[in-house]
């Protein structure tokens, strides 16, 4: 996935153009208030957690799929298994423990995921585009640990760089990581105890949902975004909250920490 600057959200702050990555990172960080154990990928989630630690959630503990907890890397990690995460970390636990005891063990408050497609209940597809699992039009990376993050974390934050009808779809080409709503329709397997996707943070705004049978609802739009545009860019009949809010623009403090302290060489903040 490559970073892309989304035109409609570019605004000026401190003489610097606000990039989509910055916007998504800042709103992800704000959503982490009161959370403690966060399961993250590299890049944007890592930056969002670092920003939250400096602002709304100083007690956050970060957990990587590679088993690293409490990392304090001297350089930004390039993947979740970058060896730069290890020196000075609080622990490197075995991967069996990470999957069995931490994720499946329901120790994670928030898991960050991305996806190629999401549906109205927050089921995710990261497996394929097309209609044939054995011979897809386009083969994507697959679950990795996404199925387990969805099943084990109390909440999932989904970050989507481009809000379009091709990514926010009525029907997924493949249900990789099922929402609790979807899981409830099955009779086999263990029901997840978490809420599934509670926040979708996109370049247009923020969608939220809280209960198993609740749909993702547009709860806020970024400054200057028309909610009707968000509805048009969504592949299902998106519900808009009665008390729809406009997100607060990034503060100078947030931007300063992000730009000057966390990613000064702009590896992820392109």
């Amino acid at each position: 996935m490559t970073a892309s600057t989304s035109e409609h959200t570019a605004t000026k702050t401190d003489d610097q153009v606000l990039t989509s990555s910055e916007l998504l990172t800042i709103h992800s960080a704000r959503a982490l208030a009161r959370r403690r154990v966060v399961f993250a990928g590299h890049g944007l989630p890592t930056l969002a957690i670092a920003l939250a630690q400096r602002t709304v959630a100083p007690e956050i503990e970060i957990v990587y799929e590679s088993g690293v907890t409490g990392a304090r890397p001297p350089d930004l990690p390039r993947t979740i298994s970058d060896s730069v995460l290890v020196p000075g970390a609080a622990s490197v636990i075995p991967m069996t423990h990470l999957f069995n005891y931490v994720l499946q063990g329901q120790r994670v408050d928030v898991g960050f995921l991305g996806a190629a497609q999401v549906d109205r209940y927050g089921s995710l597809n990261s497996t394929l585009i097309g209609d044939d699992w054995e011979h897809p039009d386009s083969r994507l990376p697959g679950s990795g640990g996404a199925i387990e993050a969805m099943a084990g974390a109390a909440e999932i934050f989904l970050v989507m760089r481009r809000h379009t009808p091709r990514t926010f779809v009525e029907t997924l080409d493949f249900v990789t990581s099922p929402s609790p709503h979807r899981a409830a329709q099955s009779e086999v397997g263990t029901m997840p105890t978490g809420a599934g996707v509670t926040h979708v943070i996109t370049d247009l705004g923020i969608m939220t949902r809280w209960a198993q049978d609740e749909e993702l609802t547009l709860s806020a739009v970024h400054p200057g975004i028309d909610p009707a545009e968000v509805v048009r860019q969504t592949g299902w009949d998106l519900q808009v909250a009665a008390d729809l809010e406009t997100t607060q623009a990034p503060t100078p403090a947030e931007l300063t920490i992000l730009r000057e302290s966390l990613d000064p060489t702009r590896i992820y903040l392109r």
């Binding site: 590679s66 991967m95 069996t96 999957f99 499946q104 011979h135 990376p141 199925i147 329709q185 263990t190």
Partner: protein, 304 residues
């Protein structure tokens, strides 16, 4: 018992055409040299077990070593796609690939069951996932304590596992640190086990820190010293990841012919991994240096 061997001997002794071979390492300590040797010795009809794929999967596919793949993540980490793999899966080009797909948690559970000689391992995920519908090997059992039926995945018992680690003694007591992936489970699950290491060290070093041993000697069949054996992946305390190599691979592998050419030049035309490294050039490795960061020693002292 001295279990040291050359890489060539170890692979030719312990691998057979048609085998299921696990090459594990989660973006760190990946047994790349062993994958190259498998290509160099032209093994075929192998099924590769590799939880999270990377360039060696594309290389083994390009060299026609594989007819099957057991995996949970089929991209080149954050560097892009694995195009040999995509050609196989999307177009059966040049041949179909039997792809046995799980999640990372499913692969962890499969290796655990294999290592534990259990027929299966229960798993709390998969409810409602299409993966559980599509893969007929993901099954379920009733819960005799009154809960819902629970999904299970079958044991994975490779014929051969190869792992890479920082160090071992000549008897095969293997030590590693940093991110350890699923290597210990893949090792115990396997019928045969080869360990490649950055350094074979005196047993006094190993025995000064017995909790650091990830694999005890009694399950090891061969131990091989292969410095830089995990390139382009990192080895904690030895060298950094070579992201340029991985990115370049994803660019190159868009072209099937370029893959064939690369395999010819870098693997078939080199006598061994050492020659391969020479061909890559030492300047590459100059950029992969690390700073030192030593652990505080702990006291293992017992009764006087």
């Amino acid at each position: 018992m001295d279990k040291t061997a050359s890489l060539s001997e170890a692979i030719s002794t312990h691998l057979n055409d048609g085998d299921t071979v696990a090459l594990e390492g989660f973006g760190h300590l990946v047994p790349v040299a062993a994958a190259h040797e498998i290509i160099r010795q032209k093994f075929s009809d192998l099924t590769l077990a590799r939880m999270s794929c990377d360039v060696i999967v594309d290389q083994l596919l390009g060299a026609n070593c594989l007819t099957g793949l057991i995996a949970a993540f089929v991209a080149n980490s954050s560097a892009g796609s694995l195009y040999e793999l995509r050609r196989r899966v999307e177009h059966s080009d040049p041949e179909p690939l039997w792809f046995d797909e799980y999640s990372h948690g499913g692969m962890v559970a499969r290796y655990q069951a294999g290592a534990s000689k259990l027929p299966f391992q229960p798993i709390a995920s998969y409810r409602g996932s299409d993966l559980a519908q599509k893969n007929p090997r993901i099954r379920s059992v009733p819960d005799p304590y009154g809960g819902s039926p629970i999904y299970v995945v079958p044991a994975l018992n490779p014929d051969l596992t190869v792992i890479h680690a920082q160090r071992a003694d000549s008897a095969g007591n293997v030590q590693a640190w940093g991110m350890l992936g699923i290597q210990t489970e893949a090792a115990f699950a396997s019928r045969r086990l080869i360990v490649t290491v950055e350094e074979i060290v005196d047993e006094s070093i190993i025995r000064s820190d017995p909790n650091r041993t990830i694999v005890p000697s009694h399950i090891v069949d061969a131990v091989v010293e292969v410095p830089r054996g995990a390139h382009p992946h990192a080895v904690q305390g030895y060298y950094d990841r070579d992201d340029a190599f991985s990115r370049d691979w994803s660019a190159l592998a868009r072209d099937a012919e370029a893959v064939k050419q690369w395999l010819q030049t870098y693997i078939h035309d080199t006598a061994d991994y050492e020659e391969f490294l020479e061909l890559l050039g030492s300047e590459r490795f100059d950029k992969l240096g690390i700073r030192d960061a030593y652990s505080t020693p702990v006291n293992y002292g017992g009764r006087e």
